[in-house]
């Protein structure tokens, strides 16, 4: 056991970059999966819709921690381990995809049906209808809940620590093992998460209020 020094706290604050990087990568991956799920979910084909519904149900109906473990140990299927980095990123992306898909489905369906009909009667195919007419309008509806979901995503990256990935929480645990000051260390960790998440929460709330106001007019 040794005493906690200023450089330890510095170590903790710098570990936040891994949390942020993992969040960003998982958001990018999740965004990719999410847009596919949202498009499948709003498709005209019942089979594609069912596929998307099943995906969402499964990922929202099981613990994220378990999904991460399955990806982590599922690497064995391929004959090589994925390691904490890749499995955390992949697991979080697949999970975020389900939630973002559901959020964005709502946004797509929030665009008035007449817009699609108008685009179609102008002779636009599925691609241009979605890309040029529906999605740009859906984007506006999607921003507030997506920012809100980011808070969840940042918090979720903490579970990567259980796979052995050294991000903020794992750094806190390592530090605690050496210095045994759990109260101080974990409250600092909590504070750092709060500093990241709270502005996002506030931004999401403000965006939501602004959107509600725009629609009241």
């Amino acid at each position: 056991m040794r005493t906690l020094t200023l450089s330890d706290i510095e170590f903790l604050i710098f570990a936040v970059r891994w949390t942020l990087l993992l969040s960003a990568l998982a958001f990018a991956g999740g965004g990719l999966v999410g847009i596919i799920i949202a498009l499948l979910r709003t498709s005209q084909q019942p089979l594609l819709r069912m596929l998307a519904i099943a995906y969402i149900r499964v990922f929202q109906g099981t613990p994220l921690l378990l999904q991460l473990f399955l990806v982590f140990f599922g690497g064995d299927l391929l004959g090589f381990g994925l390691g904490p980095w890749l499995s955390a990123m992949l697991g979080l992306s697949l999970n975020a995809g389900a939630f973002l898909g559901e959020i964005w489905r709502g946004a797509i369906q929030g665009v008035p049906r007449g817009q699609i009909e108008a685009a179609r009667s102008l002779g636009l195919g599925y691609g241009p209808t979605m890309g040029k007419v529906v999605l740009p309008q859906a984007l506006r509806l999607a921003v507030a809940p997506t920012v809100g979901f980011l808070v969840n995503l940042v918090k979720s990256t903490s579970l990567a620590s259980i796979l052995g990935f050294v991000e903020l929480i794992r750094a806190g645990q390592l530090l605690n093992n050496a210095t045994f000051r759990p109260f101080l260390i974990f409250s600092t960790v909590a504070l750092i998460y709060f500093v990241i998440c709270w502005p996002l929460t506030m931004a999401s709330r403000r965006l939501e209020a602004r959107l509600a106001q725009a629609y009241r007019r």
């Binding site: 099981t62 299927l77 918090k155 409250s187």
Partner: protein, 225 residues
Amino acid sequence: MNYIFQFGEILKPVNFDELLWGMSNTLRLSALAMVLSLAFAIVGAMLRTSGPKWAQALIAAYVEIIRNTPFLVQIFMIFFGLPTVGLRLDANGAALVAMVLNGSAYTIEIVRAGIESITAGQMDAAKAIGLRQMQSFRLVVLPQALKVMLAPLGSQFILLMLNSSIVSVVSADELMAAAQDVQSRTFRPFETYIIVFVIYFGLSMAFQAAFALIDRWAFARAEHR
């Protein structure tokens, strides 16, 4: 892909029974946490909407702090942090406290939204026919608010059940911890977690069905009265 699945070992009674034991503990822990969270949340939401100024601020701060930090940090604070200031809890106690503390914050917001969706006119009418503050809340506002709250409460409680897997990190008795025990004994982690995956999925489907039933049973009749 030349991986050979071996579920046989995990389905042997000695291992599978441990998973079932874990499942029943998960159910019990989640159910207890749900009931306590709801109870605390009703009180919390009342204070948040109509309590004294300082209580409103306190509850608001509590909700923001819990909702903007990961559950994992909360359980670490409770299990590792609190003993250093003299409050020692065993793993199961810490797990329950963490789940209730976390669940209450989210539930307070749901209950508050439910209460605020009931118009002030209902409260005025209740008072006009001679009910006192608490009576009008309990007999007029709450039953109507509960109906609005039921769907979000259902999803929140399912999330709480799924989040209970995280308390395995302090080795509290529940399904995820049982799974870790079984996989370390059988050396078949992938198969073990697939089975546990199916169990959790079954649990959340069951909870969903249960909430749908509660909705039908409690509110279908109320409307005909």
